[in-house]
């Protein structure tokens, strides 16, 4: 095990990443090959990232409050999208009537990329938090419905028969057999939703907002503050990654006895 950790390739990886930053630094700070408004050096970018926690210029808020604004909307939209999407998907797959009513609307909405909803929501709800939350809701809602739906539909017939022979009612079959066996799919849906939510949020903030990380990088561009743009991108990347990791931890807690690769 220890031998693996310090293998040749680990060393190469470390060198590769270090080299990336060194080359970036040398090209920008030392050789001045590209002007700072196109590409500032890495130290400036990380400096900007740290300083932004206290500085309010040029976009009127600190990084902390941008993050808070983004997270609030993202979690709200994702929460509603999941809270409504997962049950709807399950019901659509389990009850024919729900399927008949909801399916066509759904087939209609599905091919539209979630971000295309941004203008619609702005026209309906203005450029406030509600519009953004509605966009995130749409982004999270659709993958959740689709994956829960397929998850329930893929419930093994044998498992259902087993449940039947033990005298389970239809509702018990749903809660005791179908939903547990669909959990991996449901979580796949949630993971996808979380990804698209985060993307839609950044887009929405870039298009219509006065707060949030998307807004911050958009303003950074308008002021040619490339260091801020990059700092914002890093923050967006880290937060998005963090949210995904948290969801994965939750998933590993809840979904047990899974077959397949890894873990």
């Amino acid at each position: 095990m220890k031998k693996d950790f310090f293998s040749k390739y680990t060393v190469i990886s470390i060198i590769s990443v270090t080299l990336f930053f060194v080359i970036w630094y040398v090209l920008t700070a030392k050789m001045m090959i590209v002007p700072a408004y196109v590409m500032p050096d890495p130290l400036k970018v990380f400096g900007a990232l740290l300083r932004k926690f206290t500085v309010k210029t040029p976009d009127g808020a600190t990084l902390g409050s941008h993050i808070a604004a983004s997270l609030q909307v993202a979690l709200m939209g994702f929460g509603f999208g999941t809270g409504l999407g997962v049950p709807l998907g399950i019901l659509m797959a389990w009850y024919k009537t729900v399927d008949r009513v909801a399916r066509p609307i759904f087939d209609f909405l599905r091919p539209i990329p979630p971000i295309a909803w941004i203008p619609v929501m702005i026209l309906w709800l203005g450029i406030g938090t509600e519009a953004r939350a509605a966009v995130i809701f749409m982004s999270a809602f659709i993958p959740n419905v689709i994956n829960s739906y397929t998850g329930i539909q893929q419930t093994s017939q044998v498992h259902i028969w087993v449940g039947r022979t033990f005298g389970a009612s239809d509702f018990e079959l749903l809660t005791r057999v179908a939903i547990p066996s669909a959990l991996p799919n449901i979580f796949t849906g949630m993971r996808l939703s979380l990804g698209t939510s985060w993307v839609s949020l950044v887009s929405a903030e870039m298009l219509a907002s006065t707060r949030g990380l998307g807004y911050m990088i958009q303003i950074g561009r308008q002021f040619s503050r490339t260091d801020l743009v990059l700092a914002g991108m890093i923050a967006i990347g880290i937060l998005g990654g963090l949210l995904a990791v948290i969801l994965e931890k939750v998933e590993n807690r809840i979904v047990k006895g899974r077959q397949g690769y890894g873990k």
Partner: protein, 265 residues
């Protein structure tokens, strides 16, 4: 035999009617709601949207007709997506086959990947200006990782028994790569390309919404700016058709190239 075929056709058309019926019902409901309730203030009915879509084939929306907008978007998607597919396959294969390559580039790739495509739009404008290049870059970025990762996964999941069989049959290492590993990745390549296509289309739409004077994304955005809901919805319908059409074409290509992977039914 003849009887069976007739039966099948009958069944198929029944199925089509069954799927179409609720959609038509939905459209009628929407139309009625738009005509007689306050929803009409929020958005036009489907007839109006479809009408406006047809009109826009002849009468320009902004600078271009809708098919010209679609062509602009198509060009951006083709350039960005095309180059992402080519480089993504090469990158994914190299990741899968060479430990050295993986050690060198995997960490950098993982470092950059969490940053969503849209977050690159401002910097791409700073780097490449407001013209086409920045849009190609955005579409490329949106599609690249999907293709690369899918191919990489495909290589990791090549059936070891198949590799053993090829070795027993006298395959050299080089032949193994080209005659076994790559062919068995083809389904993964296609599934990566499908995901990348929707990511690419999504990217082009945001890029056009934020920074463009033409394209389907611009259409939707311009509709919002002039508070013209009909134009927004027209753009969305056009976008949906555009996306479905591209995906269908890709599926056809896949069916041709992977006849071995799907039972002909």
């Amino acid at each position: 035999m003849g009887n069976k075929t007739v039966n099948l056709i009958g069944k198929n058309s029944m199925r089509i009617v069954l799927t179409l019926l609720p959609i038509i019902g939905f459209l009628i409901l929407w139309q009625l709601a738009a005509m007689f309730t306050s929803i009409g203030n929020l958005m036009p009915g489907p007839i109006q949207v479809i009408e406006s879509l047809f009109i826009s084939f002849a009468k320009p929306l902004g600078p271009h007709t809708i098919q010209m907008h679609a062509l602009y978007s198509l060009k951006r998607v083709m350039v960005g997506y095309g180059s992402a597919v080519v480089t993504g396959i090469i990158f994914g294969v190299s990741l899968g086959l060479s430990k050295m390559f993986r050690a060198l580039f995997r960490p950098l790739f993982e470092l950059i990947r969490p940053i969503p495509t849209v977050a690159w739009i401002p910097i791409s404008i700073l780097w490449f200006g407001v013209d086409e290049m920045s849009k190609y870059f955005i579409v490329f970025y949106g599609a690249f990782a999907n293709v690369a990762l899918s191919v990489y996964m495909g290589i990791q999941r090549v059936d070891p028994v198949l590799v053993g069989a090829a070795k027993m049959l006298g395959c050299s290492e080089r032949q193994l790569t080209f005659k076994v590993v790559l062919p068995s990745c083809i389904p993964y390549i296609f599934s990566g390309m499908q995901v990348a296509l929707s990511a690419g289309i999504m990217s082009v739409v945001v890029a056009e919404m934020i920074n463009s004077y033409e394209g389907i994304g611009w259409n939707i955005h311009a509709g919002q700016q002039t508070a013209n809901m009909t134009q927004v919805l027209t753009g969305m319908v056009a976008l949906a058709i555009f996306g479905l059409l591209m995906a269908a074409i890709l599926r056809q290509v896949e069916r041709r190239m992977c006849a071995w992977n799907t039972r002909n039914t």
